[in-house]
Amino acid sequence: MAYILLRDLDIPDIGKLDVYTTNGGWEGFKKAVTQHTPEEVINIVIDSNLRGRGGAGFSAGRKWSFIPKNEPVKYVVVNADESEPGTFKDRQIMEKNPYQLIEGAMICAYAIQATAVYIYCRGEFWDLAHNLEACIAEAREQNLIGQNILGGNWSCDMFVHLGAGAYICGEESALLNSLQGFLGQPRVRPPFPAQKGGGLYYEPTVVNNVETLANVPWILVNGAAEYKKIGTPESPGPKIFSVSGHVARPGNYEVPLGTTFRELLFDKAGGTGTNKAFKALLPSGASGPVIPVTEQMLDTPMTYEALGKLGSTLGSASFILMDESTDMVWAAYKMIKFFKHESCGKCTPCREGTHWLAKLMEHVIHGEATMLDLEKLENVAKQMNGKSLCALNDFAINPILATLKHFRSEYVAYIKTPAPAAKPKQPAPVKKQLEEVAEPAGD
């Protein structure tokens, strides 16, 4: 089957405008502009049940439909701040197949009758940003972007903006703040970006992920019904999975949603490539709760719903694999340090909580912790849960809570100091006590 998103694998030169055009490029856009009203385009995308590929999995078409019709100024913002650890799917699209993103963004812009499109790239993507700018300039020459597009009344320009390398700017309202030149901190919602007062420059704004928009041209050309044939009814369409870590063949894999883990991890990525077995998987970069790799898990189809049932999320679908040799405590420590570094500092629980968790994990790693500290880790994480403006706070506690839940014994192994007894009336010998706790006695 031909690729839909990673078309560069089929047509190596698709990054050139003429190659893209001769291979069916811009057809979806032309069809949308010349044959459909904006409302029809939105309805097609709603029908296709295309779900946002950024992480939350919200219906893209419905998001577009929230934009008020009568506002004179509206924006489309492309979230190309791909900063989730282990995620590199958007990068490949922008690098190899940029026109598909540009076309998708323009279809979205047409659907909501936007006045401008901004592509917000993470700071490290500066070469991609220059490339995108060149692509946009070429498309502008062809009257696909700019004034009176394709001879009609609608005008819309496209700009590329570079961030300064903050993870939090992948959060849509922080992204908008950053785009406006403010500190990259999330905004209070409501008003939501789609509402007047909540978007870019306080105008209604659609914020979509690169991969989401890259799906759109295909949907316009082939229709919603065709699209829904790919994947599962709840999660239709192709999905790029970024696979990295302890696998034989790391990389981006485009497979329909609903493919099982086994198929992706073994058939495509080739297993660990060593004689070690998989131990655990981070399904969504650092932000999703870690899942232990089990036989049952390997047979789970990869959809938004199924991963919810596993107690995790599909998120950005960037799988970081860890084999048996991995120290899960060390991994959790790395991740909490990451979140501590990336917390924007706006909300108290996240700013102080990540700092505290990192300190506690430091004690654990250095062997200075006691059993009480493990309890403390859990308590602090729970104390943070659900108390902040954006999701970073809740992401930050995932690595701790999930590793504590699934790999508690590894934590216990780190504890060298005799624990002050949790129940003081049991003056049991230290060794015995450790064994007792080491048993998987739930959380």
């Binding site: 903050a166 500092g345 108290t348 104390q383 403006l389």
Partner: protein, 860 residues
């Protein structure tokens, strides 16, 4: 009004208000907050105000509230807790604040905040009035499992400018200071730097923290992270005695609280340790300018005069009160003519007793002058002054605020702050001036006119209003004449849109200053403003009318008691035989006052040695505002009391007492023994002041937001108003029957040729009282004049050159600043920056000579 449910109880509250505010005001339910402040937009960052939130379920068809079995409304609760501070109330909103979940959330947030907060409450200036302390006591977990060694160690002594210090460890990143400077003061001077736990406050302006309102950030800081250089470690808050007082500098009548304490270094007397704002939502809300906050040092300055002085063999030597009185009484009894010039800081009681004295020794109202004598128009104010009960807090959409010939931020910073806040709520701002000022950034109409043509500019507005038939002449007496005169006015098209906005507005407030106009022109300018207000019907109603931007704290009071600037002008021209100069320094400030040397006998009451005491025959030590009781009348005609706060310095007396004693010796009248008794007499004699007895003035009312007391967490450390909110006197326009005078005003420009020197007012000047606050010395600019680039080029002058400007016989050496905002043909010369007197009225410059090159001169 909408119904909301707090902990199961329904409350009727105004729609569109903030949930934290209404919970506090209507339900007496204190939702704890750190980052939220009732004067600023919510940001929801501290997460302290998390509550369970939900909506009442309503029947879809009938809209009636569904009830459960117990008969209380059914509520659909949200799964997660929400921040109350970011929630606007709507009908059917329900919150729970007393559940375990909420209590635990509060404990959690306090614990998180304390993980990085140092345990230095014992030495913290905020300790004892600290929101974090209070809320920790109220909502904290009591214990923390955080390891003490894991605490952050950050810089504790970071100067944000020379006035404010930042303690990075104590900061809880609530952004109140950033938001205040940005949103309210309009000064982009503070910002966050870095992110996460490293997030910190930095100043981004040069000079650092360059704001006239910087001190307010220390009040609203919910921890002791921001402290003032003035008070740092001065005392513990509980040791201070708060005395209600009034700002002695500005016409806004800002309410302040003087924090006083005994002090060893000051000989064991009571001194002012700091000045804090006192809440008065009608006047200054909870803000004061840095001039008010840090300008109190004159009250106990080492140079204060402590004994009377009299002239003997051409030098002033110390004498006793008895001898000084005897001399004064002798002179006054035989005087052929008597005159008095009253300073801007004299209380109504002082002014009254001075007036009575002058009248008793043969003077008339024509010999009662005010200082500074730059503004006229007391009669106009009596008619169309801003109506009683007006409040900038209630201005917003539909209000037009007009600024005429004033640089409001420099002249009356609190009015500027409040007018700007009204503008942010939707009011339209119109600025008419000869040069751009800070308010122009926020103005919808920035209208430039030639200096000297302010009256013409207003006439243009009037002409547009009348020509466009926007006027209502029903209350205007003399409209026919005005109409006839307006026919000759060529209405400038640039004013058309502004005129329409003014005519169509619900409310109009006009601030009238005196920048670039002479005293005679100013009388016309005030009348011109009155014409606009009367013809558009914007008089006599709340939030409508004229506010003169008086030059002093009690200029309005002086005018109410019969003093005029015109009398001063006359006294300067023809000095009387015996002249009393009370609490001001005309000779040192204004070149036009040089003539006063010709008076036979000059009596001066003063706190300091000045150029005016140098020409005096008798100098009497005067008490500062902090040592005595009295009243000031603000530019909004609000009479307000201030109370005695600090110990008396030397043998000084309040002016009213001095003048009452002298009069007693002359006409055997009963000398009043208290300021209250003087005010009692004023209430009987001056109709407008009939309700101004001290008891009335001391009345307080519940204000919103609640600030002070145990509620410091909420509005900051502004102090509760215990001294009285004051009483306004009504203007005649408030009587619906009263006819109001519209008078044609001449808009002739002065015809003199040459560079026009326009004196301007700066907030931080070298006035005789303010200059004693050394802490502010870096903020007072050197004596300078602003030249337009064109004029500078013509005169071959460069930025930084020192020049000598000759003006009507006097000369003034200043540094020049080439400033693009100054129109060609004009030099703006800030008043009171130099030791030499300067002009107080615009005048044509004589020769201008360069005395030093730029580089050599910039050292100052």
């Amino acid at each position: 009004m909408v119904t909301i449910y707090i902990d199961g109880v329904g409350y009727e509250v105004p729609a569109g208000t903030n949930l934290v505010d209404v919970a506090k005001f209507y339900a007496d339910n204190d939702i704890p907050v750190f980052c939220y402040h009732p004067k600023m937009a919510p940001v929801g960052m501290c997460r302290m105000c998390l509550v369970e939130m939900g909506s009442v379920e309503k029947d879809k068809e009938s809209g009636t509230v569904l009830l459960d079995e117990q008969g209380s409304p059914k509520i659909r609760w949200m799964p997660k807790m929400q921040t109350a501070c970011t929630q606007t109330v709507y009908d059917g909103l329900a919150i729970r604040t007393n559940t375990q979940q909420v209590t635990e959330a509060r404990e959690d947030i306090v614990e998180f905040l304390l993980t990085s907060h140092p345990l230095d409450c014992p030495i913290c200036d905020k300790g004892g009035e600290c929101p974090l302390q209070n809320l920790t006591m109220r909502h904290g977990p009591g214990v923390s499992v955080f390891y003490f060694e894991d605490k952050m160690h950050l810089a504790k002594h970071v100067p944000l400018g020379e006035l404010i210090y930042l303690d990075r460890e104590r900061c809880i990143q609530c952004a109140r200071c950033i938001r205040f400077s940005d949103e309210l003061a309009g000064d982009d001077v503070l910002a966050f730097h870095e992110r996460g736990r490293a997030l910190q406050i930095v100043t981004v302006s040069d000079p650092p923290f360059d704001s006239k309102f910087s001190g307010n950030t220390t009040d609203i800081c919910p921890v002791g992270a921001l402290t003032t250089a003035d008070f740092r470690f001065g005392a513990r808050p509980w040791e201070l005695k708060e005395v209600p007082s009034i700002d002695p500098y500005g016409p806004e009548g800002a309410n302040i609280s003087l924090s006083t304490r005994l002090d060893r270094d000051s000989g064991g007397g009571i001194i002012i340790k700091r000045v804090m704002p006192r809440q008065n939502e009608h006047v200054n809300e909870i803000w004061i300018s840095d001039k008010t906050r840090f300008g109190h040092h004159h009250t106990r300055h080492i140079d204060r005069l402590v004994t009377p002085l009299h002239r003997e063999k051409n030098t002033l030597i110390e004498t006793t009160w008895d001898k000084a009185f005897k001399q004064i009484i002798d002179k006054l009894k035989g005087a052929t003519s008597v005159g008095a010039i009253a300073g801007p800081g004299l209380s109504n009681e002082d002014l009254w007793e001075l007036r009575q004295l002058v009248l008793a020794v043969g003077g008339s109202e024509k010999s009662l002058g005010i200082w500074p004598a730059t503004m006229s128009g007391g009669e106009v104010v009596k008619q169309v002054g801003i109506a009683k009960g007006s409040n900038f807090n209630t201005m917003g959409k539909g209000t037009v605020i007009v600024l005429v010939a004033t640089d409001l931020e420099e002249e009356a910073p609190i009015w500027w702050l409040r007018a700007k806040a009204a503008r942010d709520r939707g009011a339209t701002v119109v600025v008419l001036n000869g040069r751009p000022t800070k308010m122009d950034r926020y103005a919808k109409f920035s209208l430039r006119h030639e200096y000297g043509d302010a009256v013409g500019a207003i006439n243009s507005l009037t002409a547009h209003i009348v020509n466009g038939n926007h006027h209502k002449a029903d209350r205007a007496e003399g409209f026919a004449e005005l109409q006839k005169a307006l026919k000759k006015v060529k209405a400038d098209d640039r004013y058309a849109a502004a005129a329409e906005a003014i005519a169509g507005a619900d409310n109009v407030v006009v601030f009238c200053g005196a920048e670039g106009v002479t005293l005679a022109q100013h009388a016309e300018l005030m009348q011109a403003c009155a014409n606009v207000l009367i013809l558009t019907g914007h008089v006599g109603r709340t939030n409508n009318g004229l506010i003169p931007v008086w030059p002093g704290a009690n200029t309005q009071g002086a005018i109410d008691l019969g003093y005029t600037a015109e009398a001063t002008a006359e006294l300067l021209q023809n000095p009387p035989a015996v002249l009393i100069v009370a609490g001001c320094n005309p000779v040192g400030e204004d070149i036009a006052a040089a003539n006063l040397r010709n008076a036979d006998f000059v009596i001066v009451t003063s706190q300091f040695d000045t150029a005016t005491t140098a020409i005096a025959d008798v100098v009497l030590p005067q008490q500062s505002f902090a040592e005595r009781e009295g009243t000031f009348t603000s530019g909004e005609r609000r009479v307000q009391r201030f109370y005695a706060a600090q110990g008396v310095i030397g043998e000084s007396f309040p002016d009213w007492k001095i003048f009452a004693q002298v009069r007693h010796a002359i006409d055997k009248s009963t000398a009043k023994v208290s300021a209250g008794a003087v005010m009692a007499e004023i209430t009987k004699s001056v109709a407008a002041y009939s309700a101004m007895g001290y008891k009335n003035l001391a009345q307080v009312e519940r204000q919103f937001p609640d600030v002070g007391g145990t509620d410091q967490y909420y509005g900051g450390t502004a102090y509760q108003n215990t001294g009285g909110i004051g009483v306004q006197w009504p203007v005649s326009a408030e009587n619906a029957e009263a006819k109001l005078n519209v008078v044609p005003v001449s808009s002739e420009k002065s015809k003199a040729k040459g560079l026009l020197v326009v004196p301007t007012t700066l907030l931080y000047d070298r006035g005789m009282l303010f200059v004693r606050s050394e802490i502010m010395s870096l903020r007072i600019p050197p004596a300078h004049a602003n030249f337009s680039p064109a004029d500078a080029q013509k005169l071959k002058l460069q930025d930084g050159d020192m020049v000598e400007i000759n003006l009507e016989g006097a000369s003034l050496t200043v540094q020049i600043i080439v400033n693009e905002t100054i129109p060609a043909g004009v030099i703006t010369l800030p008043k009171c920056l130099s030791d030499q007197p300067g002009p107080f009225a615009p005048m044509v410059a004589g020769s201008i000579e360069k005395v030093a090159q730029a580089l050599a001169a910039t050292g100052d």
